[in-house]
Homo-oligomer: 233 residues x 2
């Protein structure tokens, strides 16, 4: 029986969740047969009751797991003979944990303040009231006010990605010669604005584009085939 | 003939340079016989003329190299049978390049605005006018003005170290089971405030202390034996 990945979806079946993309790349890397099941924010609670409130969630037979980090650890343990996401090296697991935390602060959080209204615009109408209410409560202002200075913030966001550019200057992948979980974490973080915002998040001559293009081409171009909004690759 | 490491020194022979500590740890890791030669900012130009203007500089026979990253690459290439600083894995080299850039932005630059006056106070009197003039020109204000809000900045600095705490939660070293160049980069960055500032840079119950204590104990406790100023380990 295939693994099921419950995956956040917007309009036009846009799979926009960075957290879900990490798991999707992980399943593809390990070559595990799986299907993805699109879900709305407001229907997550139907999957397994109140046990799991965020996506991704996977079911593998009778096992249900949420949280992308728990999932990747489960997949490594349950399928040790499939290609490892960490090349079976603890140093790559450490690098992954570092990047996961770093990308939240350096990519996802600043980006949210740039694209939150664009995301809202591309959500299923059923999800919109929930998204607006929870996010406006969290920020203490309207979605429209959150993105007021977004043009200035884009420049700052771009320069925050410099540590990635330094690492990619001398190799094709963050993980070295082949893509591993560190690359999937960052590519997943960029799949989010790619599918949800028409803002030019990466400048066209950004050296990161070369790496991201390669990441989009993996697994029969699953990344590049997704609906996209952004200007660029 | 031993390798010579030209190493920045303050009063009481304080070896305070993070960049020099990276190289020192690298030489110790590889087990290469070496001596360190203390130098002042204002005497760097005497080592090999205007070819190399910053420390560390090493000489190995007739070879002279500056820049800690160039040096570690030289050592790996010149001494392939000695323990590798990257465990011979390109992924660890990538992690190192990422951390080197990250630590500059997340550790060294914010710290400089907290401890720059403390550093000045612990420089050899010969170096003081040079240090004050160049740093005040760079910041566009006096050393005293730079550190005016340093108490507030310490708290923000500490929380910026969270990606390290996440990675060290599940392992003894950033590099996994043993210390490698990623660990040396971060330990070197902390040797700097440890030797030059009485400010409490890490809170006493910070989980990073456990790791840093181990790093200080390596190579017969070379780190812990250095003159220290800070409150803590």
């Amino acid at each position: 029986m295939s693994i099921k990945l419950y995956d956040l979806a917007g309009i036009d079946d846009r799979r926009f969740s960075s957290n879900c993309w990490r798991t999707r790349f992980a399943l593809l890397h390990k070559g595990l047969p799986h299907i993805t099941v699109p879900k709305l924010f407001t229907s997550i609670h139907k999957i397994s009751g109140d046990n799991h409130r965020t996506l991704p969630i996977i079911t593998d037979g009778k096992t249900t797991i949420s949280d992308s980090w728990a999932i990747v650890n489960y997949l490594e343990a349950a399928y040790p003979h499939k290609p490892s996401l960490f090349d079976k090296q603890d140093s790559l697991k450490s690098y992954s944990e570092f990047l996961q935390h770093w990308s939240l602060k350096a990519i996802s959080f600043p980006l949210l303040q740039i694209i939150i209204k664009d995301i809202y615009d591309r959500l299923d109408p059923i999800d919109k009231p929930y998204f607006r209410a929870t996010r406006e409560k969290r920020f203490g202002k309207t979605l429209e006010d959150i993105v007021k200075n977004s043009e200035d913030n884009v420049e700052q966001f771009r320069s925050g990605l410099n540590p990635l550019r330094v690492s990619l200057k001398h190799r094709n992948f963050l993980s070295g010669k082949k893509p591993l979980y560190p690359d999937y974490i960052i590519a997943a973080a960029l799949m989010w604005p790619r599918s949800m915002s028409p803002k030019q998040i990466l400048h066209e001559d950004d050296t990161l584009n070369t790496w991201f293009k390669t990441m989009l081409s993996l697994y029969e171009g699953i990344g590049s085939k997704q609906p996209k909004e952004w200007v660029g690759i």
